[in-house]
């Protein structure tokens, strides 16, 4: 069958892929202490591996990843002349790099190394020693068969674009942008809202130091706006991302503000004179008003307002133009159009933050139904001196000062019906609220209903004790219900908290005037779309997945895409800042290398075999395949190819090969991994 073209192994599926000649394989089976050795008979696997064709030496060792284990490999390469190395140990995601480096040190091309994952996918996944040992042998055999067909490969070196894109202008994004800009790198900061600042800009005080949030945040915002290395793009959204680490092209839509930024002085006259007043659902979370031309808050950065076309009289009815008339610098431009900008960047830091859990989803707490039930963000705005009530703690009527206030913890968090996780920041925010109530309304009584107080941070526990000593009541138990149905005298006209006080083992009904729900954090509604846009993963709850939960918390599986702040999981300000700095440091570290090494896992088209059918052209998600009209053949651009192999599998002429995942290598691995699958008691004869 293959007589016509001996290179096309695809047409002869029965042929065993050719092994090369003179391959000398060393197999190393790791005990990983007891992690593997307790379930897999490692000595037996090593001994058996030693008897396999091409295997020159097979050893088992306590910890292959230790320096002694690595030296063992290096010695054998040099003394026994090994030219292939197989390590049966943990996942390649854990130690492939380690062993590749060991091979390289001994002068062996690192791509002649192969790993068999007998820990994560072997010993840790079963108790059945016999089956685990058999599976380990199969994996080793597959790895050996693959390794003998592996080819030496050279990494690709590409230049790194020194610009960075930061998405999200909350405290994490601001920190990352400033760190990089201070290090001398250019940063594009893209923010969806009209101003940077994020959630932190809405807060009054920050725990546990009771620093005024605006006092520590706004100087940073101004720094960002004025920094020569930062291009600030607010009221903008990322539309598409192309390219790869070091060379991304990002398309951004700058939404029309209808304000000429070069003329606007930020005087605010237009805002003042705008006749339309609507409830501000965004920044003031429904407690305050804004105009149709507006800024989120007076210190907004940048200072230019935006026109909300859905509510602007001119855009809706074609009349008004009040802002245009009063503007002293003629900065209003009703004809402004959205602008599409393409940015060239080397790395992208996502700091897209979180959303507050919608407290309406817990109907028994009455938010949205009972007027004086507030969310924590509403209360933040209320106690903020720059907020809708100018810092006065009042009921929904705007005048009555509450005498008894209930703060309910864990609304939507630590609850199997909503989110199982702890939102991390709300306990401390609740303590801060208790303190602020005592400060603003000294005669008021505050009740905290909690499951556990989570005050694990620097000076957090001390703050808890301070609030305790201020006389706040702490009642341990999850609140069953908040109701206005009075059962007796003393309850009329009040909100009653029905709760089991688990410390005294009794049901209690506590009448209050005001209830604050500590609604937890959840991932943004569009987190999955954003993840798809940037090509990174989300976990079950929609938080972006980091490469390693402990050791690599700001880098994602996608090279060049980093995460910082609450988009990766619930976080308070200090952790968000730390992550912002960490992400910036990682990016700066990479750019310090100037060129970067990329995996040589790439597709390559054999021009002689290519029929020019162009099936691969449209398959490639990276537009990495070009078609030469003159020669009627396709060609892969190595710098664009990401090595997925979609084209390799699709080529009807088998003209495309995928380096390190060639057809021969995979077919050989399949044969090896199934070495014991044929029934031993029979032989198979070809049919007559």
């Amino acid at each position: 069958m293959s007589a016509e073209n001996p290179h096309r192994t695809r047409h002869d599926p029965h042929a065993t892929p050719d092994a090369g000649h003179g391959e000398r394989v060393g197999v190393y089976v790791c005990h990983c202490g007891h992690n593997i050795a307790n379930t897999v008979a490692v000595e037996e696997v090593a001994e058996w591996a030693g008897e396999q064709p091409n295997v020159v030496v097979a050893r088992d060792y306590k910890f292959m990843c230790s320096s002694l284990g690595q030296e063992l490999i290096e010695q054998d390469i040099q003394q026994l002349g090994l030219n292939r190395v197989v390590v049966a140990a943990c996942s390649p995601h854990m130690h492939e790099k380690t062993f590749r480096s060991a091979c390289q040190r001994a002068g062996l091309n690192p791509y002649l190394f192969e790993m068999a994952n007998i820990r994560e996918m072997g010993s840790w996944a079963t108790d059945d020693r016999e089956a685990a040992t058999q599976k380990a042998k199969a994996q080793v055999k597959g790895a050996v068969e693959r390794a003998v067909r592996q080819q030496p490969l050279e990494p690709l070196y590409v230049d790194i674009n020194p610009n960075t894109l930061v998405v999200g202008g909350g405290i994490a994004g601001l920190t990352a942008a400033l760190e990089l800009a201070n290090a001398g790198y250019h940063v594009y900061l893209v923010e969806r809202d009209s101003s940077i600042g994020g959630h932190m800009a809405k807060l009054d005080k920050t725990f546990p130091t009771l620093d005024c949030a605006a006092c520590i945040l706004t100087p940073k915002m101004v720094d960002v706006a004025n920094h020569p290395n930062i291009t600030l793009m607010t009221w903008s959204e990322v539309l598409s991302v192309h390219g790869y680490v070091g060379n991304f092209t990002v398309r951004v839509r700058k939404k029309a503000r209808y304000i000429k930024e070069d003329l606007c002085t930020g005087c605010g006259t237009c805002v003042e004179k705008c006749p339309v007043r609507i409830i501000d659902q965004n920044f003031e979370v429904g407690l305050g008003y804004r105009k149709a031309v507006y800024r989120n808050f007076p210190q907004a950065v940048p200072k230019y307002p935006v026109i909300d076309t859905a509510n602007c009289t001119f855009f809706q009815r074609g009349k008004c133009r009040a802002c245009e008339i009063v503007c002293p610098t003629d900065a209003i431009d009703f004809n402004q159009k959205d602008e599409i900008v393409d940015l060239e960047v080397g790395n992208i830091i996502l700091a897209t933050g979180y959303e507050q859990f919608d407290a309406r989803r817990v109907p028994q707490y009455g938010y949205g139904r009972l007027a004086n039930v507030f969310t924590s963000m509403e209360f933040e705005r209320m106690v903020n001196a720059a907020g809708p009530t100018a810092g006065r703690v009042v009921l929904r009527d705007g005048v009555t000062v509450p005498k008894r206030i209930a703060i309910i913890h864990c609304v939507g968090s630590r609850d199997k019906n909503y989110h199982e996780y702890c939102s991390r920041a709300c306990c401390m925010a609740a303590l801060k609220f208790a303190h602020l109530v005592h400060e603003r309304v000294p005669e008021a009584e505050v009740f905290n209903f909690y499951i556990d107080i989570r005050a694990s941070g620097k000076h957090y526990e001390e703050f808890y004790h301070r609030v305790l000593s201020e006389g706040t009541h702490f009642i341990r138990g999850r609140v069953a219900e908040v109701t206005d149905a009075a059962r007796g005298p003393g309850e009329e006209g009040q909100l009653i908290i029905q709760v089991e006080d688990t410390l005294i083992g009794k049901q209690r009904r506590i009448p209050v005037d005001m209830v604050i729900l500590m609604a937890g954090m959840e991932s943004r509604k569009d987190a999955r779309q954003v993840a798809a846009l940037f090509g990174l993963g989300c976990d079950y709850d929609g938080w972006f997945t980091e490469r390693h939960a402990k050791l690599d918390p700001v880098v994602t599986m996608t090279e060049g895409i980093l995460v910082a702040g609450a988009c990766q999981g619930p976080k308070a300000i200090p952790e968000s800042v730390a992550q912002g700095s960490a992400a910036a440091a990682r990016v700066a570290g990479m750019m310090g290398q100037r060129v970067m090494k990329r995996e040589p896992v790439r597709a390559c088209i054999d021009a002689a075999s290519c029929s020019g059918c162009r099936i691969c052209n449209t398959l490639c998600p990276y537009h990495a395949i070009t078609f030469h009209e003159d020669r009627k053949v396709s060609e892969v651009i190595p710098a664009l190819c990401q090595g997925c192999g979609a084209c390799v599998a699709a080529c009807p002429s088998a003209a495309i090969s995928g380096a390190h995942f060639t057809r021969d290598q995979v077919l050989a691995q399949i044969e090896g991994i199934l070495w014991d699958a044929r029934q031993p008691e029979v032989l198979w004869l070809e049919p007559q």
């Binding site: 994560e120 996918m121 996944a125 059945d128 999955r528 989300c538 997925c644 192999g645 004869l685």
Partner: protein, 157 residues
Amino acid sequence: MENEFQPIIVGFLCNWCSYRAADLAGTARVHYAPTMRPIRVMCTARVEPEFVLKALREGADGVLIAGCHPGECHYVEGNIKALRRFTLLKAMLRQFGVEDERVQLVWAAASEGKQLAEAVDRMTEQLRALGPLRWRQRVLGEQPVARHALEVEVGAD
């Protein structure tokens, strides 16, 4: 229990989601049937139908292809390409009389170790109910000859 048929499944796991899901299952010590033998590919789009056929021919009782969830592919939509190819392959396998349960395509995100383990367990149970595949007999029409019978023949020569 001891004589229970232990099927062999070849698992093609994509590097970014499913391989990590299987890693996570191990790290979280989720125990599942030791029947799946993993082969790492960069993307499920790399899995040629030939790989599946080769595995079945070499004696696997089933093949599991696991990739990222639609919309979450590391390579944008490689999993969708795999799905299309898989659908065609299944149509062909059906004509060979190979049961649907023997070749499965599942999605497992890097965080879904437990789900992947459950998929392997479920498939193992299904294959156990179906029994061995014996592709060579069933599809290629080869006849098994007992080793001793062959030896007798050889001896007679």
